[in-house]
Each structure stands twice: as C-alpha cells, then as structure tokens.
Symmetry: C2
Subunit: 286 residues, 2 copies
Amino acid sequence: MGRPMARNLLMAGYPLIVHSRSQGPVKELVGQGAKEAHAPKAVAEQAEILIAMLPNSPDVELVALGKNGIIEADNRRLIFVDMSTISPIVSQKVAKALEPKGVRMLDAPVSGGEKGAIEATLSIMVGGDKAVFDTVLPVFQAMGKTITHLGPLGAGGFTKLANQIIVAVNLTALGEALTLAAKAGLNIELTLKALGGGLAGSRCLDQKTPNYLAHTFNPGFKIDLHYKDLGLIMEAARALGVPLPTTAVVQELFNALRVKGRGGLDHSGVITLLEELAGVEVKAKQ
Amino acid sequence: MGRPMARNLLMAGYPLIVHSRSQGPVKELVGQGAKEAHAPKAVAEQAEILIAMLPNSPDVELVALGKNGIIEADNRRLIFVDMSTISPIVSQKVAKALEPKGVRMLDAPVSGGEKGAIEATLSIMVGGDKAVFDTVLPVFQAMGKTITHLGPLGAGGFTKLANQIIVAVNLTALGEALTLAAKAGLNIELTLKALGGGLAGSRCLDQKTPNYLAHTFNPGFKIDLHYKDLGLIMEAARALGVPLPTTAVVQELFNALRVKGRGGLDHSGVITLLEELAGVEVKAKQ
C-alpha cells in the first residue's frame, strides 16, 4: 500500500523522503525523485508531515517510540500521520508519548485496497485535532477520494474497525446464504441477481460477484489481513466493554481458514469453509 | 400484505374472488369490486389463478390440503401461486400432493414489505415450471417490479431464505459495529456516512440509517417475523445438510429480543440488544 500512495504524493508535486525495511520500494521511489533516509528519526528531523503505513500496532510503536524512532527527533513542527490499521488504543498511547516532543498526530486508516491506493481513490478515516486535519487535507487528497474527519485521535481507527466488522460478517453471511442456495440446487448467478435487487444488496455482494461466479478467490484483501483486523476489533471491544457475539464467530471461521492454509485467499473466500462444512464440492471455473 | 396486493390486482382490472379468516380486508375488497368466497375450496373452483399470502407453513398446508381446501376442488385448469414465506420443503410437498388433481403450483415469496405491496414494487422470487411462470407473469407485474424465475418449485422459497440470512446477519453486524462506535465515543451520523462510502455499504445501512439516528425502531419488518424466517432457514438448512454457524448466533440474538418483549420492533432493532450487552444507554430522540 505504501508504495503507490508515495508515488501519488510524488506525482502531486510533494518532495518526499522515504524509509522502509524493504529496499525494493525505496529504490523505486528514489528513482522517481524521492530522497532516502535511513531511520524514522532521520525522516522526522527533515519532514513537516511524516506518514506511516505499517502492518500492525507493534510496528507503529517501534517506528514512533523505539530506537531511532520519531520520538528521538528534534522537530517541534512535525505532524505524524499514521495510516496503518492498528489498535486505536495504541494510537492514543503513541500520540500521548509524542505530545511532550511537540509532535502532533492523526490516525488515518484507509479502505479501498491496493486498487484504491494506486488510483488515489482511498477512503481515508481520520481522527485527531481538526486544525491538524485541515493542514494535512491537501496531502490526503493526493492519495484518496472520500476523506472524513471523524473526531479526536483514535476515531479514524475505531471507524475502520467498525467497517471491518461489517465487511467480515457480511461476507460470511453471503457465504452461508450462497452455500444454502447451492445445496438447494439454485443457479448462483440468478440468485445473486435476485438478492442484489432487494434489501440483501450490498457493495460486498456487487464487488465479490465475479469471485463467487468464477469460484476463484485471488486477493483482493487477504483473509490473513482481515484476521489481523478481527484481532484488533476483539481487543478494542474488550478494552471498551463491548461483547460482539457474531463477530467472534466470524473470527473463529477466519481462524479456521488460516489453519487450513487459506489465509492468502481473498476474504470473500470464507465461503470455501462454509461449502466444506456442508460437503459442497465446487470446482473453480477456468 | 394480502390486502394491498389484492387491491393492486383489482386496479389492474383482474376480477377477484377473496377469502380470509379476517373479515375486515374481505369487506374492504368486496366494497372495491371483489367477490367473496367462504372457503379456499370455493375460490379454487371458480378461479384460474389462486394466490395465497399466509403467515407460515402450517397455514399453507391447511388451505391447500386441509378440509375445504384447494385439494377438494374440481378444477384441472387451476394454478396455485403461494406468495407466503414458508418452508420450501413444505412447498414441494404441497405441490406434489396437488399434482394428481391437475393443480399446477408456483412458490413466489416476496421482498419489499407493506410499502412494496402498496406501491406494487415488490421483488417476487418465483420457483416452478417456466411455462406456468409465463402464464402468471402479467399478474405478478400488477403486484411487483423485480420478478425473477429462479428454477423449479421451491427455488423461490430458497432464494427468499438466502435473502433473509443476509439481511438478519448484516443488521446484526451493523448493530455490533455501531455499538462499538458508540462506546468509542464516535458520532454515529459521521460514522454511518464514512461506512456507507466503502465496502461496508449496503441497502440495509442506507434504509435503516434514519432508525439508527433517531434510535426508534418502528417496523418496517418485525423481529417476530424475521425470527420466524430464521426458524425456516435453520429447518431448511438441516434438511439439506448446511451448517450455518453465524446465522445460528443471530437466531439466538433475535430469540433474546423476543424474550425481552421486543419482537414488535423493526429488525434493525437488534442493535438495542447489543447496546444492552455493552451497557450503552441510548435515549430515543424526540
């Protein structure tokens, strides 16, 4: 995700300093005009806005608060924009730790996948101070399309988690409904058309219809990643005191898919587990 | 549902013979030009197409196969169109029992609620012989808008059950997501807007947004009725051998709502149970 987002910033004319553990994307972006730095601290000392796009909470903690991290830099003008999907509670902790250094922070996770990153059509869900949001807005606009300020720091992350609940559970509902339909002998194409025309209609149904019809589940958004998000959801829900009975079942189904070695499938591939439970044999169309 | 559907048939110029256990709708329709009959058998003897709209499987069995039922009539031209949401397995049994009498049957459950019935915009999901479907199509067009022939008898009912899985589970997902959002201190209106713009977007989210914002859950489609449908879903799923782990949890949540005396709420009111589990106190806006 980070590479296409950075490319869009370069294309919008922003001078860019990049750092990553992987040298491939760094070399590519340097070839396109970016400058390289060798640690988060070095980026933080030279930049006005530092954007992180990392796998999970510990990575963000390391980059922000670890050795050679943002916290060691001397730059009281710095705005730290974390666009990773991590625990919003960790975001709040990181922001608090950076505050004495004068660093202001936004949490700004995205939805829309690699396609949205490449095409600069990401939906960006932002939490943090409104004045800081207004300062960063033009930079967001170079990477995304629907940019929403949702409240104080953590609000972006909590909204992303709410989004991930709905998507995981709705994809599982589609999996259960289509497995029942298959065992009842229905034509799946006709069924999807009839379902899409009523109250069961959704963006998941529309976007994943080609996967269901071809019965191939190339990502897209991987089960592994959505399983990570379900862990963040349950962690946040427990911290806030919110029992999530349906999401918990879906988390276990996603867990079972990983156990079976299917973590690399698109998240709509949860249907393959439900078909297996029902003894449905479906062959991918070629 | 039956009354507005019958009214639309009268308005389209079809001569109508009506029968119901409730005298109110019968009197009203007779006032508008319908003829009254005193038993299903009497309707079946005079009509070319007999349409039933009944609460559940046993009601359809009684009207079709019981004393003074359709099976006792002598009319080999009759087409029996059952538009009730019942067990598709019972539909298949009824069709089989009526076959020796020359009665042809379609199962044609609807989606769209009383509003769709009044405005003749129902989505009608039809199973049965295609030639019989073609004969009845103009009659369906007087009552609905999206009319889909899905396969042999029972296909309408199975599609409706698939529809009801997705709607119940997605409304529960919305309930869990919005409860997490509320406890995280998010503004629900902004959250719904951000969610609606991404992969979490759905017709449920769009149609139920006013309920979530006002925190009033006037039906709409009652929890009592959706709970009945969840029973039909689990019954059909067991008969076909389809484990439905997520739907089963949602069925229990709908059951809990009934235990608490909230079966009369709109099905989006499942959120009130999730809020209660999380200790969220929300007052309805006036």
